[in-house]
Protein backbone atom coordinates (compact mmCIF):
# COMPACT_ATOMS: atom_id res chain seq x y z
CA UNK A 1 0.00 0.00 0.00
CA UNK A 2 1.41 3.41 -0.94
CA UNK A 3 1.61 6.17 1.64
CA UNK A 4 -1.36 7.91 0.02
CA UNK A 5 -3.42 4.72 -0.09
CA UNK A 6 -2.68 4.16 3.59
CA UNK A 7 -3.81 7.67 4.49
CA UNK A 8 -6.99 7.29 2.45
CA UNK A 9 -7.62 3.88 3.95
CA UNK A 10 -7.54 5.46 7.43
CA UNK A 11 -9.94 8.19 6.32
CA UNK A 12 -12.34 5.45 5.32
CA UNK A 13 -11.88 3.49 8.56
CA UNK A 14 -12.29 6.60 10.71
CA UNK A 15 -15.47 7.53 8.84
CA UNK A 16 -16.94 4.02 8.98
CA UNK A 17 -17.89 4.41 12.64
CA UNK A 18 -16.69 0.87 13.47
CA UNK A 19 -16.22 0.25 17.19
CA UNK A 20 -12.70 0.94 18.47
CA UNK A 21 -11.27 -1.55 20.96
CA UNK A 22 -8.13 0.34 21.87
CA UNK A 23 -7.67 3.95 22.87
CA UNK A 24 -4.26 5.27 21.91
CA UNK A 25 -2.81 8.59 23.05
CA UNK A 26 0.36 10.01 21.50
CA UNK A 27 2.35 12.67 23.33
CA UNK A 28 5.32 14.15 21.50
CA UNK A 29 7.66 17.11 21.70
CA UNK A 30 6.68 17.98 18.12
CA UNK A 31 3.61 17.84 15.86
CA UNK A 32 2.95 14.10 15.65
CA UNK A 33 -0.37 14.25 13.78
CA UNK A 34 0.98 12.66 10.58
CA UNK A 35 1.43 9.43 12.59
CA UNK A 36 -2.32 8.91 13.02
CA UNK A 37 -3.29 7.34 9.67
CA UNK A 38 -0.28 5.03 9.52
CA UNK A 39 -0.60 3.90 13.13
CA UNK A 40 -4.37 3.54 12.74
CA UNK A 41 -4.09 1.31 9.69
CA UNK A 42 -1.23 -0.76 11.16
CA UNK A 43 -3.22 -1.39 14.37
CA UNK A 44 -6.34 -2.17 12.32
CA UNK A 45 -4.34 -4.75 10.31
CA UNK A 46 -3.04 -6.26 13.56
CA UNK A 47 -6.69 -6.59 14.72
CA UNK A 48 -6.56 -3.81 17.29
CA UNK A 49 -9.10 -1.34 15.92
CA UNK A 50 -8.05 1.89 17.56
CA UNK A 51 -9.16 5.38 18.35
CA UNK A 52 -6.12 7.66 18.29
CA UNK A 53 -5.64 11.00 19.94
CA UNK A 54 -2.59 13.20 19.44
CA UNK A 55 -1.99 15.20 22.60
CA UNK A 56 -1.20 18.90 22.69
CA UNK A 57 2.08 19.91 21.07
CA UNK A 58 5.20 19.55 23.26
CA UNK A 59 3.40 19.05 26.58
CA UNK A 60 4.38 15.51 27.52
CA UNK A 61 5.10 16.17 31.18
CA UNK A 62 2.18 18.57 31.68
CA UNK A 63 -0.26 16.05 30.19
CA UNK A 64 1.22 13.14 32.14
CA UNK A 65 0.98 14.75 35.55
CA UNK A 66 -2.48 16.21 35.06
CA UNK A 67 -5.58 14.18 35.81
CA UNK A 68 -7.92 16.57 34.08
CA UNK A 69 -5.83 17.19 30.97
CA UNK A 70 -6.95 16.14 27.53
CA UNK A 71 -5.03 12.86 27.69
CA UNK A 72 -6.27 11.85 31.14
CA UNK A 73 -9.86 12.57 30.13
CA UNK A 74 -9.39 10.49 26.97
CA UNK A 75 -8.32 7.51 29.16
CA UNK A 76 -5.79 5.75 26.91
CA UNK A 77 -5.17 1.98 26.96
CA UNK A 78 -1.93 2.61 25.13
CA UNK A 79 0.20 5.65 25.83
CA UNK A 80 2.88 6.49 23.27
CA UNK A 81 5.55 8.92 24.40
CA UNK A 82 7.67 10.31 21.61
CA UNK A 83 10.26 12.92 22.64
CA UNK A 84 13.14 14.23 20.52
CA UNK A 85 16.42 15.37 22.01
CA UNK A 86 16.33 18.38 19.67
CA UNK A 87 13.37 19.77 21.63
CA UNK A 88 14.45 18.48 25.04
CA UNK A 89 17.76 20.25 24.57
CA UNK A 90 16.05 23.36 23.23
CA UNK A 91 17.25 26.66 24.67
CA UNK A 92 20.62 25.19 25.63
CA UNK A 93 23.86 25.25 23.70
CA UNK A 94 24.65 21.97 21.98
CA UNK A 95 26.73 19.51 23.99
CA UNK A 96 30.37 20.35 23.42
CA UNK A 97 32.31 20.31 26.64
CA UNK A 98 29.45 20.16 29.12
CA UNK A 99 28.26 17.59 31.62
CA UNK A 100 26.22 14.75 30.11
CA UNK A 101 23.93 14.76 33.16
CA UNK A 102 22.64 18.20 32.22
CA UNK A 103 21.47 16.83 28.89
CA UNK A 104 19.90 13.72 30.39
CA UNK A 105 17.86 15.41 33.10
CA UNK A 106 14.90 16.48 30.93
CA UNK A 107 14.73 13.11 29.20
CA UNK A 108 14.54 11.34 32.55
CA UNK A 109 11.87 13.74 33.73
CA UNK A 110 9.80 12.77 30.68
CA UNK A 111 10.38 9.07 31.41
CA UNK A 112 9.35 9.39 35.06
CA UNK A 113 6.23 11.37 34.26
CA UNK A 114 5.14 8.91 31.59
CA UNK A 115 5.76 5.86 33.81
CA UNK A 116 3.66 7.46 36.50
CA UNK A 117 0.88 8.38 34.07
CA UNK A 118 0.78 4.89 32.55
CA UNK A 119 0.51 3.44 36.04
CA UNK A 120 -2.33 5.78 37.07
CA UNK A 121 -4.23 5.29 33.82
CA UNK A 122 -3.49 1.54 33.70
CA UNK A 123 -2.15 2.00 30.19
CA UNK A 124 0.54 0.11 28.35
CA UNK A 125 3.42 2.49 27.75
CA UNK A 126 5.37 2.58 24.50
CA UNK A 127 8.29 4.92 24.94
CA UNK A 128 10.07 5.92 21.75
CA UNK A 129 13.77 6.32 22.47
CA UNK A 130 14.92 9.52 20.79
CA UNK A 131 17.45 9.35 17.96
CA UNK A 132 20.82 11.04 18.02
CA UNK A 133 20.36 14.59 16.66
CA UNK A 134 21.83 15.21 13.22
CA UNK A 135 23.27 18.61 14.02
CA UNK A 136 27.04 18.69 14.71
CA UNK A 137 28.63 22.07 15.17
CA UNK A 138 32.10 20.58 14.73
CA UNK A 139 31.07 18.04 12.09
CA UNK A 140 33.34 15.05 11.73
CA UNK A 141 35.24 16.18 14.83
CA UNK A 142 32.22 15.33 17.03
CA UNK A 143 33.32 11.70 17.11
CA UNK A 144 36.62 12.74 18.73
CA UNK A 145 34.80 14.23 21.70
CA UNK A 146 33.73 12.42 24.87
CA UNK A 147 31.21 15.20 25.44
CA UNK A 148 30.02 15.96 21.91
CA UNK A 149 26.54 15.53 20.42
CA UNK A 150 26.91 11.85 19.62
CA UNK A 151 28.44 10.93 22.99
CA UNK A 152 25.99 12.98 25.04
CA UNK A 153 22.95 11.78 23.10
CA UNK A 154 24.11 8.20 23.53
CA UNK A 155 24.37 8.68 27.31
CA UNK A 156 20.88 10.19 27.39
CA UNK A 157 19.45 7.34 25.30
CA UNK A 158 21.06 4.60 27.37
CA UNK A 159 20.05 6.26 30.62
CA UNK A 160 16.46 6.23 29.37
CA UNK A 161 16.72 2.61 28.29
CA UNK A 162 18.10 1.57 31.69
CA UNK A 163 15.31 3.40 33.44
CA UNK A 164 12.54 1.93 31.28
CA UNK A 165 13.52 -1.44 29.82
CA UNK A 166 12.30 -4.57 31.57
CA UNK A 167 9.63 -2.75 33.55
CA UNK A 168 6.22 -4.27 33.41
CA UNK A 169 3.77 -2.72 30.99
CA UNK A 170 6.58 -0.76 29.32
CA UNK A 171 7.77 -1.30 25.76
CA UNK A 172 10.57 0.56 24.01
CA UNK A 173 10.83 1.49 20.37
CA UNK A 174 14.13 2.86 19.10
CA UNK A 175 13.94 5.86 16.78
CA UNK A 176 17.58 5.28 15.89
CA UNK A 177 16.55 1.97 14.30
CA UNK A 178 13.71 3.60 12.38
CA UNK A 179 15.95 6.34 11.00
CA UNK A 180 18.66 3.85 10.17
CA UNK A 181 16.12 1.70 8.31
CA UNK A 182 14.75 4.69 6.37
CA UNK A 183 18.17 6.23 5.80
CA UNK A 184 18.76 9.61 7.41
CA UNK A 185 18.68 11.32 3.99
CA UNK A 186 14.99 10.35 3.71
CA UNK A 187 14.01 10.45 7.36
CA UNK A 188 13.68 14.17 7.99
CA UNK A 189 11.44 16.87 6.60
CA UNK A 190 13.05 20.29 7.18
CA UNK A 191 10.31 22.15 5.29
CA UNK A 192 7.54 20.78 7.45
CA UNK A 193 9.68 21.29 10.53
CA UNK A 194 9.95 24.98 9.67
CA UNK A 195 6.29 25.33 8.71
CA UNK A 196 4.52 23.13 11.21
CA UNK A 197 7.04 21.58 13.65
CA UNK A 198 6.81 18.22 11.86
CA UNK A 199 10.37 16.88 11.88
CA UNK A 200 9.99 13.58 10.05
CA UNK A 201 9.07 12.44 6.56
CA UNK A 202 5.83 10.57 5.87
CA UNK A 203 7.97 7.47 5.33
CA UNK A 204 9.23 7.68 8.93
CA UNK A 205 5.73 8.19 10.32
CA UNK A 206 4.58 5.18 8.34
CA UNK A 207 7.38 2.98 9.64
CA UNK A 208 6.91 4.23 13.21
CA UNK A 209 3.20 3.35 12.98
CA UNK A 210 4.00 -0.16 11.77
CA UNK A 211 6.63 -0.71 14.45
CA UNK A 212 4.33 0.48 17.24
CA UNK A 213 1.60 -1.89 16.08
CA UNK A 214 4.06 -4.77 15.81
CA UNK A 215 5.52 -4.12 19.26
CA UNK A 216 2.09 -3.81 20.83
CA UNK A 217 1.08 -7.06 19.13
CA UNK A 218 4.12 -8.83 20.60
CA UNK A 219 2.99 -7.81 24.08
CA UNK A 220 -0.52 -9.14 23.54
CA UNK A 221 -0.06 -12.25 21.42
CA UNK A 222 2.18 -15.28 21.66
CA UNK A 223 5.31 -15.18 19.53
CA UNK A 224 5.97 -17.94 16.99
CA UNK A 225 7.73 -20.83 18.66
CA UNK A 226 8.83 -23.28 15.96
CA UNK A 227 11.05 -22.81 12.91
CA UNK A 228 10.86 -25.62 10.37
CA UNK A 229 13.58 -25.58 7.73
CA UNK A 230 14.15 -27.39 4.48
CA UNK A 231 17.61 -28.92 3.92
CA UNK A 232 18.78 -28.74 0.27
CA UNK A 233 19.65 -25.16 -0.76
CA UNK A 234 18.45 -23.95 2.65
CA UNK A 235 20.87 -25.49 5.17
CA UNK A 236 23.51 -26.24 2.54
CA UNK A 237 24.15 -25.54 -1.14
CA UNK A 238 23.08 -28.14 -3.68
CA UNK A 239 20.92 -31.26 -3.52
CA UNK A 240 22.18 -34.16 -1.44
CA UNK A 241 20.33 -36.70 -3.65
CA UNK A 242 22.32 -35.50 -6.67
CA UNK A 243 25.55 -34.09 -5.31
CA UNK A 244 25.97 -36.68 -2.55
CA UNK A 245 26.53 -36.00 1.18
CA UNK A 246 30.12 -34.96 0.53
CA UNK A 247 29.24 -32.93 -2.55
CA UNK A 248 26.85 -30.39 -1.01
CA UNK A 249 28.36 -26.95 -0.40
CA UNK A 250 29.35 -26.10 3.17
CA UNK A 251 32.67 -24.57 2.20
CA UNK A 252 34.07 -21.49 3.82
CA UNK A 253 34.71 -19.49 0.64
CA UNK A 254 31.47 -18.80 -1.17
CA UNK A 255 27.79 -19.63 -0.72
CA UNK A 256 28.56 -22.47 1.73
CA UNK A 257 29.70 -19.84 4.23
CA UNK A 258 26.32 -18.10 3.96
CA UNK A 259 24.51 -21.39 4.66
CA UNK A 260 26.68 -21.91 7.72
CA UNK A 261 25.99 -18.36 8.91
CA UNK A 262 22.28 -19.15 8.53
CA UNK A 263 22.80 -22.29 10.66
CA UNK A 264 24.46 -20.15 13.35
CA UNK A 265 21.44 -17.86 13.27
CA UNK A 266 19.14 -20.87 13.78
CA UNK A 267 21.21 -21.81 16.84
CA UNK A 268 20.74 -18.27 18.17
CA UNK A 269 16.98 -18.67 17.76
CA UNK A 270 17.20 -21.92 19.69
CA UNK A 271 19.03 -20.13 22.50
CA UNK A 272 16.17 -17.65 22.61
CA UNK A 273 13.71 -20.51 23.15
CA UNK A 274 12.61 -21.26 19.57
CA UNK A 275 12.24 -24.93 18.61
CA UNK A 276 14.04 -26.04 15.45
CA UNK A 277 12.73 -28.75 13.15
CA UNK A 278 13.56 -30.16 9.75
CA UNK A 279 11.21 -30.98 6.88
CA UNK A 280 13.03 -32.38 3.88
CA UNK A 281 12.22 -34.42 0.77
CA UNK A 282 15.20 -36.77 0.75
CA UNK A 283 16.42 -40.17 1.83
CA UNK A 284 16.85 -39.91 5.57
CA UNK A 285 20.29 -41.56 5.62
CA UNK A 286 21.65 -38.98 3.13
CA UNK A 287 20.48 -36.09 5.31
CA UNK A 288 22.07 -37.44 8.50
CA UNK A 289 25.26 -38.10 6.64
CA UNK A 290 25.50 -34.41 5.78
CA UNK A 291 24.68 -33.59 9.42
CA UNK A 292 27.70 -35.64 10.47
CA UNK A 293 30.04 -33.47 8.39
CA UNK A 294 32.29 -31.37 10.65
CA UNK A 295 31.48 -28.13 8.78
CA UNK A 296 27.85 -28.36 9.88
CA UNK A 297 27.11 -25.96 12.74
CA UNK A 298 23.57 -27.22 13.26
CA UNK A 299 23.66 -30.68 14.84
CA UNK A 300 21.04 -33.39 14.82
CA UNK A 301 20.51 -32.95 18.58
CA UNK A 302 19.58 -29.29 18.02
CA UNK A 303 16.45 -30.44 16.19
CA UNK A 304 13.34 -31.04 18.24
CA UNK A 305 11.63 -32.94 15.43
CA UNK A 306 12.05 -33.91 11.79
CA UNK A 307 10.09 -35.25 8.84
CA UNK A 308 12.31 -36.63 6.09
CA UNK A 309 10.54 -38.40 3.24
CA UNK A 310 8.32 -37.76 0.28
CA UNK A 311 5.00 -36.75 1.74
CA UNK A 312 3.72 -33.16 1.22
CA UNK A 313 5.41 -30.76 3.63
CA UNK A 314 2.07 -29.47 4.89
CA UNK A 315 1.40 -32.94 6.30
CA UNK A 316 4.77 -32.98 8.06
CA UNK A 317 4.06 -29.57 9.59
CA UNK A 318 0.62 -30.64 10.73
CA UNK A 319 2.08 -33.72 12.42
CA UNK A 320 4.66 -31.58 14.19
CA UNK A 321 1.94 -29.25 15.44
CA UNK A 322 0.26 -32.28 17.08
CA UNK A 323 3.56 -33.55 18.40
CA UNK A 324 4.42 -30.21 20.05
CA UNK A 325 0.79 -29.57 21.00
CA UNK A 326 1.07 -26.12 19.44
CA UNK A 327 -1.14 -24.30 16.95
CA UNK A 328 0.08 -23.94 13.38
CA UNK A 329 0.10 -20.20 13.98
CA UNK A 330 3.21 -20.87 16.10
CA UNK A 331 5.11 -22.13 13.03
CA UNK A 332 7.55 -20.50 10.63
CA UNK A 333 8.56 -22.46 7.53
CA UNK A 334 11.74 -21.67 5.57
CA UNK A 335 12.36 -23.27 2.17
CA UNK A 336 14.12 -22.24 -1.06
CA UNK A 337 11.55 -23.90 -3.31
CA UNK A 338 8.61 -21.64 -4.28
CA UNK A 339 6.47 -24.71 -5.01
CA UNK A 340 6.92 -26.03 -1.46
CA UNK A 341 6.17 -22.59 -0.03
CA UNK A 342 3.01 -22.40 -2.14
CA UNK A 343 1.92 -25.88 -1.07
CA UNK A 344 2.32 -25.10 2.64
CA UNK A 345 0.79 -21.64 2.31
CA UNK A 346 -2.25 -23.02 0.48
CA UNK A 347 -2.99 -25.84 2.93
CA UNK A 348 -1.86 -24.12 6.13
CA UNK A 349 -2.40 -20.37 5.82
CA UNK A 350 -1.57 -19.83 9.53
CA UNK A 351 2.04 -20.87 8.97
CA UNK A 352 4.39 -17.95 8.21
CA UNK A 353 6.45 -18.92 5.17
CA UNK A 354 9.80 -17.41 4.22
CA UNK A 355 11.57 -18.18 1.00
CA UNK A 356 15.32 -18.69 1.24
CA UNK A 357 16.66 -16.34 -1.46
CA UNK A 358 18.38 -17.77 -4.54
CA UNK A 359 21.62 -16.18 -3.43
CA UNK A 360 21.92 -17.45 0.17
CA UNK A 361 24.01 -14.44 1.29
CA UNK A 362 20.73 -12.48 1.37
CA UNK A 363 19.20 -14.78 4.02
CA UNK A 364 19.35 -12.23 6.83
CA UNK A 365 17.28 -9.49 5.22
CA UNK A 366 14.89 -12.08 3.75
CA UNK A 367 14.14 -13.37 7.24
CA UNK A 368 14.41 -10.27 9.40
CA UNK A 369 12.36 -8.04 7.11
CA UNK A 370 9.33 -10.28 7.63
CA UNK A 371 9.32 -9.62 11.38
CA UNK A 372 7.62 -12.99 11.98
CA UNK A 373 10.35 -14.12 14.37
CA UNK A 374 10.48 -10.86 16.31
CA UNK A 375 9.81 -11.32 20.00
CA UNK A 376 10.17 -9.57 23.31
CA UNK A 377 13.27 -10.49 25.35
CA UNK A 378 12.91 -14.11 26.53
CA UNK A 379 11.67 -14.96 30.01
CA UNK A 380 13.13 -17.85 32.01
CA UNK A 381 10.19 -20.04 30.89
CA UNK A 382 11.02 -19.39 27.23
CA UNK A 383 14.60 -20.41 27.83
CA UNK A 384 13.50 -23.67 29.48
CA UNK A 385 11.17 -24.59 26.64
CA UNK A 386 13.69 -26.25 24.33
CA UNK A 387 14.85 -28.64 27.02
CA UNK A 388 11.24 -29.28 27.92
CA UNK A 389 10.40 -30.83 24.56
CA UNK A 390 13.34 -33.17 24.80
CA UNK A 391 12.14 -34.27 28.25
CA UNK A 392 8.72 -34.77 26.71
CA UNK A 393 10.13 -37.16 24.10
CA UNK A 394 11.68 -39.33 26.84
CA UNK A 395 8.46 -39.12 28.82
CA UNK A 396 6.40 -40.41 25.89
CA UNK A 397 8.71 -43.35 25.44
CA UNK A 398 8.17 -44.19 29.11
CA UNK A 399 4.41 -43.87 28.65
CA UNK A 400 4.41 -46.51 25.92
CA UNK A 401 6.21 -48.89 28.28
CA UNK A 402 4.13 -48.23 31.38
CA UNK A 403 1.59 -50.89 32.31
CA UNK A 404 -1.35 -48.75 33.46
CA UNK A 405 -2.13 -45.05 33.56
CA UNK A 406 -1.97 -45.15 37.38
CA UNK A 407 1.49 -46.72 37.35
CA UNK A 408 2.57 -44.23 34.77
CA UNK A 409 1.38 -41.27 36.81
CA UNK A 410 2.84 -42.67 40.00
CA UNK A 411 6.16 -43.13 38.22
CA UNK A 412 6.27 -39.52 37.06
CA UNK A 413 7.01 -38.13 40.51
CA UNK A 414 4.93 -35.01 39.92
CA UNK A 415 5.47 -32.25 42.47
CA UNK A 416 3.30 -29.16 42.69
CA UNK A 417 3.83 -25.97 44.63
CA UNK A 418 0.97 -23.46 44.79
CA UNK A 419 1.89 -20.01 46.03
CA UNK A 420 0.78 -16.39 46.17
CA UNK A 421 2.61 -14.28 43.59
CA UNK A 422 4.97 -11.57 44.72
CA UNK A 423 5.80 -8.46 42.72
CA UNK A 424 8.46 -10.25 40.67
CA UNK A 425 6.05 -13.05 39.65
CA UNK A 426 3.57 -10.69 38.02
CA UNK A 427 5.19 -10.67 34.55
CA UNK A 428 4.88 -14.47 34.44
CA UNK A 429 1.27 -14.28 35.62
CA UNK A 430 0.57 -11.76 32.85
CA UNK A 431 2.29 -13.99 30.33
CA UNK A 432 0.12 -16.97 31.34
CA UNK A 433 -3.00 -14.83 31.13
CA UNK A 434 -2.02 -13.62 27.66
CA UNK A 435 -0.87 -16.90 26.21
CA UNK A 436 -2.73 -19.84 27.72
CA UNK A 437 -5.33 -21.02 25.20
CA UNK A 438 -6.11 -24.68 25.66
CA UNK A 439 -6.52 -25.08 29.37
CA UNK A 440 -8.17 -21.80 30.15
CA UNK A 441 -11.57 -21.45 31.83
CA UNK A 442 -12.60 -18.29 29.99
CA UNK A 443 -9.52 -16.77 28.26
CA UNK A 444 -10.05 -13.54 30.17
CA UNK A 445 -7.07 -11.47 28.98
CA UNK A 446 -6.06 -8.95 31.59
CA UNK A 447 -3.08 -6.64 31.17
CA UNK A 448 -0.12 -6.69 33.52
CA UNK A 449 -1.05 -3.47 35.28
CA UNK A 450 -4.55 -4.72 36.06
CA UNK A 451 -3.21 -8.05 37.31
CA UNK A 452 -0.82 -6.21 39.60
CA UNK A 453 -3.78 -4.39 41.12
CA UNK A 454 -5.75 -7.59 41.58
CA UNK A 455 -2.75 -9.10 43.36
CA UNK A 456 -2.81 -6.25 45.80
CA UNK A 457 -6.58 -6.29 46.21
CA UNK A 458 -7.42 -8.37 49.30
CA UNK A 459 -10.78 -9.41 47.83
CA UNK A 460 -9.12 -11.80 45.39
CA UNK A 461 -7.18 -15.00 45.87
CA UNK A 462 -4.39 -15.10 43.32
CA UNK A 463 -2.14 -18.18 43.09
CA UNK A 464 0.57 -19.45 40.80
CA UNK A 465 1.47 -23.08 40.22
CA UNK A 466 4.99 -24.43 39.94
CA UNK A 467 5.38 -27.98 38.67
CA UNK A 468 8.19 -30.47 38.28
CA UNK A 469 8.53 -34.18 37.76
CA UNK A 470 11.37 -36.62 37.42
CA UNK A 471 12.08 -35.46 33.91
CA UNK A 472 12.50 -31.83 34.67
CA UNK A 473 11.30 -28.59 36.10
CA UNK A 474 8.49 -26.91 34.17
CA UNK A 475 8.68 -23.67 36.14
CA UNK A 476 5.55 -21.68 36.77
CA UNK A 477 2.95 -23.21 34.45
CA UNK A 478 -0.42 -22.38 35.95
CA UNK A 479 -2.39 -19.71 37.67
CA UNK A 480 -5.72 -19.15 39.39
CA UNK A 481 -7.72 -16.15 40.48
CA UNK A 482 -10.77 -16.67 42.67
CA UNK A 483 -13.11 -14.27 44.41
CA UNK A 484 -15.01 -15.21 47.55
CA UNK A 485 -18.56 -13.89 47.37
CA UNK A 486 -21.33 -13.81 50.01
CA UNK A 487 -22.03 -17.55 49.89
CA UNK A 488 -19.56 -19.10 47.49
CA UNK A 489 -16.14 -18.77 45.90
CA UNK A 490 -16.20 -17.79 42.24
CA UNK A 491 -13.38 -18.89 39.95
CA UNK A 492 -12.35 -15.89 37.89
CA UNK A 493 -9.30 -17.31 36.13
CA UNK A 494 -8.06 -20.89 35.88
CA UNK A 495 -5.30 -21.75 33.49
CA UNK A 496 -2.55 -24.28 32.99
CA UNK A 497 0.05 -24.35 30.26
CA UNK A 498 -0.62 -27.23 27.86
CA UNK A 499 2.84 -28.65 28.47
CA UNK A 500 1.87 -29.52 32.06
CA UNK A 501 -1.50 -31.07 31.25
CA UNK A 502 -2.41 -34.68 31.85
CA UNK A 503 -0.33 -35.20 35.00
CA UNK A 504 -2.95 -34.39 37.59
CA UNK A 505 -1.78 -30.80 38.07
CA UNK A 506 -5.18 -29.40 37.09
CA UNK A 507 -6.89 -31.66 39.69
CA UNK A 508 -4.38 -30.51 42.29
CA UNK A 509 -5.16 -26.89 41.48
CA UNK A 510 -8.91 -27.39 41.80
CA UNK A 511 -8.44 -29.42 45.00
CA UNK A 512 -6.33 -26.61 46.43
CA UNK A 513 -9.18 -24.14 45.81
CA UNK A 514 -11.61 -26.43 47.66
CA UNK A 515 -9.20 -26.61 50.60
CA UNK A 516 -8.74 -22.83 50.65
CA UNK A 517 -12.50 -22.32 50.41
CA UNK A 518 -13.09 -24.71 53.32
CA UNK A 519 -10.51 -22.85 55.42
CA UNK A 520 -12.33 -19.58 54.71
CA UNK A 521 -15.68 -21.15 55.62
CA UNK A 522 -17.12 -21.74 52.15
CA UNK A 523 -18.43 -25.04 50.88
CA UNK A 524 -19.33 -24.03 47.33
CA UNK A 525 -17.11 -23.16 44.39
CA UNK A 526 -18.72 -21.79 41.26
CA UNK A 527 -17.23 -21.62 37.77
CA UNK A 528 -18.49 -20.29 34.46
CA UNK A 529 -16.87 -21.91 31.47
CA UNK A 530 -16.66 -19.73 28.37
CA UNK A 531 -16.40 -21.47 25.01
CA UNK A 532 -13.30 -20.24 23.19
CA UNK A 533 -11.89 -21.54 19.90
CA UNK A 534 -9.14 -23.59 21.51
CA UNK A 535 -10.08 -24.19 25.15
CA UNK A 536 -11.67 -27.59 24.71
CA UNK A 537 -9.32 -29.29 27.24
CA UNK A 538 -10.46 -26.86 29.93
CA UNK A 539 -14.11 -27.25 28.98
CA UNK A 540 -13.76 -31.03 29.19
CA UNK A 541 -12.19 -30.85 32.62
CA UNK A 542 -14.84 -28.55 34.06
CA UNK A 543 -17.68 -30.45 32.35
CA UNK A 544 -16.50 -33.60 34.14
CA UNK A 545 -16.79 -31.68 37.42
CA UNK A 546 -20.32 -30.36 37.06
CA UNK A 547 -19.94 -27.34 34.76
CA UNK A 548 -21.46 -28.93 31.69
CA UNK A 549 -22.99 -25.88 30.03
CA UNK A 550 -20.69 -23.15 28.77
CA UNK A 551 -21.75 -19.62 29.66
CA UNK A 552 -23.62 -20.68 32.81
CA UNK A 553 -22.12 -20.33 36.28
CA UNK A 554 -22.44 -23.75 37.94
CA UNK A 555 -21.19 -25.26 41.19
CA UNK A 556 -18.16 -27.49 40.93
CA UNK A 557 -18.30 -30.99 42.39
CA UNK A 558 -15.64 -31.52 45.02
CA UNK A 559 -12.22 -32.46 43.66
CA UNK A 560 -9.61 -34.21 45.83
CA UNK A 561 -5.89 -33.75 45.64
CA UNK A 562 -4.57 -36.58 43.41
CA UNK A 563 -2.61 -39.13 45.49
CA UNK A 564 0.30 -39.34 43.02
CA UNK A 565 1.04 -35.61 43.24
CA UNK A 566 3.41 -34.48 45.96
CA UNK A 567 2.80 -31.09 47.60
CA UNK A 568 5.73 -28.75 47.91
Amino acid sequence: MSLLETRLSWQKIARSGRAAELKVAVLATFTANPLTPYLGVALEDARFPAEIMIGPYDQIVQECISDDGETARFGPDLLIIWPRLEELWGGRPLPLTGEAALYTKDAIEVAEASLEAARRWRATLIFILPAIPEIRAIGVGDACSQTGVFATATVARETLRLRLAGRRGVLLLDMEEIIRHTGSAHAYNPRMLALARIPFSEEVFNLAGQRVAQLFGLSRQAARKVVVVDSDNTLWGGVVGEDGPDGVDLGDNGPGEAYRAFQSYLLELRRAGVLLALCSKNDEADVWEVFSRPEMRLRREDLSSWRIGWQPKSIGLREMADEFDLGLDSFVFIDDNPAEIAEVQASLPEVACIRMPDDPVDWMSAIQSTGVLDRLPPTQEDLNRTTHYEQERVRRELQTRATSPEDYLAGLGVKVRIFTPTQSDIPRLAQLVAKTNQFNLNCKRRGQAELAEICEDGNYWVRLVHTQDRFGDYGVVGGMIAKPDSDCVEIDTFMLSCRALGRGVEQAMAAYLFEEAARAGYSNIVAEVIEMPRNEPARRFFAASGCEVAGVASPLTRIEWPPHVERL
Binding site: S2, L3, L4, R7, L8, Q11, R15, N33, P34, R191, M192, A194, L195, A196, I198, E202
Partner: protein, 75 residues
Protein backbone atom coordinates in the same frame (compact mmCIF):
# COMPACT_ATOMS: atom_id res chain seq x y z
CA UNK B 1 -5.43 11.44 -11.83
CA UNK B 2 -7.09 14.83 -12.20
CA UNK B 3 -6.09 17.47 -9.69
CA UNK B 4 -9.73 18.00 -8.67
CA UNK B 5 -10.03 14.29 -7.99
CA UNK B 6 -6.99 14.31 -5.66
CA UNK B 7 -8.25 17.33 -3.75
CA UNK B 8 -11.69 15.75 -3.52
CA UNK B 9 -10.44 12.58 -1.84
CA UNK B 10 -8.00 14.27 0.48
CA UNK B 11 -10.42 17.01 1.54
CA UNK B 12 -13.43 14.69 1.48
CA UNK B 13 -15.61 17.04 -0.61
CA UNK B 14 -17.56 16.26 -3.82
CA UNK B 15 -15.36 16.73 -6.88
CA UNK B 16 -18.04 18.80 -8.66
CA UNK B 17 -17.77 21.48 -5.99
CA UNK B 18 -14.08 22.07 -6.72
CA UNK B 19 -12.73 24.76 -9.06
CA UNK B 20 -9.44 26.63 -9.33
CA UNK B 21 -10.95 29.15 -6.93
CA UNK B 22 -11.46 26.55 -4.17
CA UNK B 23 -9.20 27.68 -1.36
CA UNK B 24 -8.28 27.39 2.28
CA UNK B 25 -10.69 30.24 2.87
CA UNK B 26 -13.64 28.69 1.03
CA UNK B 27 -13.31 25.05 2.17
CA UNK B 28 -13.76 24.25 5.82
CA UNK B 29 -12.00 20.86 5.55
CA UNK B 30 -8.81 22.50 4.18
CA UNK B 31 -7.25 23.11 7.58
CA UNK B 32 -3.55 23.11 8.42
CA UNK B 33 -3.34 19.28 8.68
CA UNK B 34 -5.24 18.82 5.44
CA UNK B 35 -2.78 21.26 3.89
CA UNK B 36 0.14 19.04 4.86
CA UNK B 37 -1.75 16.04 3.54
CA UNK B 38 -2.35 17.86 0.23
CA UNK B 39 1.34 18.73 -0.11
CA UNK B 40 2.48 15.16 0.62
CA UNK B 41 -0.13 13.79 -1.77
CA UNK B 42 0.89 16.13 -4.61
CA UNK B 43 4.59 15.41 -4.07
CA UNK B 44 4.04 11.64 -3.93
CA UNK B 45 1.67 11.57 -6.91
CA UNK B 46 3.53 13.86 -9.30
CA UNK B 47 7.09 13.27 -8.10
CA UNK B 48 7.73 16.96 -7.49
CA UNK B 49 9.12 18.90 -4.56
CA UNK B 50 7.80 22.25 -3.33
CA UNK B 51 9.92 24.81 -1.52
CA UNK B 52 8.93 25.96 1.94
CA UNK B 53 7.64 29.23 0.49
CA UNK B 54 5.59 27.46 -2.15
CA UNK B 55 4.00 25.28 0.51
CA UNK B 56 3.12 28.31 2.59
CA UNK B 57 1.70 30.29 -0.33
CA UNK B 58 -0.36 27.55 -1.95
CA UNK B 59 -3.77 28.83 -0.93
CA UNK B 60 -6.04 27.48 -3.67
CA UNK B 61 -6.45 24.65 -6.12
CA UNK B 62 -5.48 27.11 -8.87
CA UNK B 63 -2.23 27.89 -7.00
CA UNK B 64 -1.44 24.19 -6.91
CA UNK B 65 -2.11 23.87 -10.66
CA UNK B 66 0.18 26.85 -11.43
CA UNK B 67 2.99 25.59 -9.18
CA UNK B 68 2.80 22.12 -10.72
CA UNK B 69 2.77 23.67 -14.19
CA UNK B 70 5.93 25.62 -13.36
CA UNK B 71 7.54 22.28 -12.49
CA UNK B 72 6.51 20.82 -15.83
CA UNK B 73 3.48 18.89 -14.59
CA UNK B 74 0.29 19.62 -16.55
CA UNK B 75 -2.82 18.62 -14.68
Amino acid sequence: MKLEELFAIVLEVPQVELTDLSSQASLRSWDSFAHINIISTLEETYGVRFTTDEIRNMKSLGDARRLLGAKGVTV
